[in-house]
Symmetry: C2
Subunit: 209 residues, 2 copies
């Protein structure tokens, strides 16, 4: 296996954290997004989408999506289980992972890519340039507020997102919320359940991966 | 189990098609999006996100995301396998499902919700209203073109999206492409690999579910 990583971006961090939770050592190659290496001809041969992370599997398949990297590694290395121990838990893991991606990850990325000067003409990942849409950034900032409300409601009724154990959606939410700092959004001070959860996740060794 | 369905929307159709492929009979309740029933107080008690489909599991968990409904049902009813038979296939299934959702499903939904008169102030799903963003619709239409290019490249090298067998990402892509008709986008005539794949999927009994 080969893992293509980038230390400055949130999506590779999600994969790194998952790999760390599994206790795996995978041959790693760093791609600098600051230098734009994800759009170099050499890297586009690996992943034509021009995104990081990438996991090249044992069979040579190219996995470019975090949920796929997690599903593949979970099959090969079931312990500790991060995608659910039975059908009920598995359903909740994938449900909350998708909710966090859509209600949190998407607006955080939209806010960043459509408002940050460093992302000018880079509003969408990949080889083609896309202009920023200021109205989309504005909408995204409002949706980030709604996402923090949603997290607080869920974490007031459940210790972790999928239930009483740490699983994949906790990685997804933790990394996206940490990344939201680039657009100056943090967990609101009054959201005590979310702050309790955030401290618990931050204390895991994988949070430093 | 209880399945909340809506005959006029693409996301419930994805779940219906998955359930049909598994040969399952699940107690079903229809929610009319045309009447706005997905935002009624009664339905928001079931799913506060105000979206359909919903699968209420045997244990009473609420699954609102297609990928979670698929993961839950696959665990309980493994045959026929639609999420991969081994780690390699599983990785490819989740990878292509996520790619189709992000590169296809997202722009198709954005184009529809940000341009169609019926979606005025409904640019985002859920209880809160959001204004349409015309520039986002325009960007989405261009991304739909890129998605058809991506599908054609993939289906020129692979019979189905995840490999040589029909799996979850084929359901996702088929339903989203059928739905793209509402914004007047179809598989381009010259995309022979995609048209071959589309005919094969359309011939399955589940395509009429």
């Amino acid at each position: 296996m080969i893992f293509y990583d980038c230390p400055t971006a949130p999506n590779p961090r999600r994969a790194r954290m998952f790999i760390a939770e599994k206790g795996l050592e995978i041959e790693t190659r760093e791609i600098s997004m600051i230098k734009g290496e994800q759009l170099s001809p050499a890297f586009l041969k690996v992943n034509p989408l021009g995104t990081i992370p990438v996991l090249v599997t044992e069979a040579g398949n190219i996995l470019t999506e975090n949920v796929a990297i997690a599903a593949y590694l979970e099959e090969r290395h079931p312990e500790p289980p991060l995608l659910g121990r039975d059908a009920e838990e598995r359903g909740m893991v994938f449900n909350w992972n998708a909710i966090v991606e859509q209600q949190g990850g998407q607006p955080i990325a939209e806010a960043f890519r459509n408002s940050h000067p460093a992302m000018k003409d880079r509003a969408i990942t990949g080889p083609e340039d896309f202009e920023q849409i200021p109205a989309l950034a504005e909408r995204a900032f409002h949706r980030i507020d709604l996402f923090f409300d949603l997290m607080e409601r869920r974490l007031s009724e459940s210790e972790y997102l999928a239930g009483d154990r740490f699983t994949l959606p906790d990685i997804t939410a933790f990394v996206m919320i940490e990344f939201a700092r680039v657009v100056r959004r943090r967990i609101p001070e009054g959201n005590t359940a979310t702050l309790r959860w955030h401290s618990a996740v931050k204390a895991r060794p994988s949070a430093a991966a």
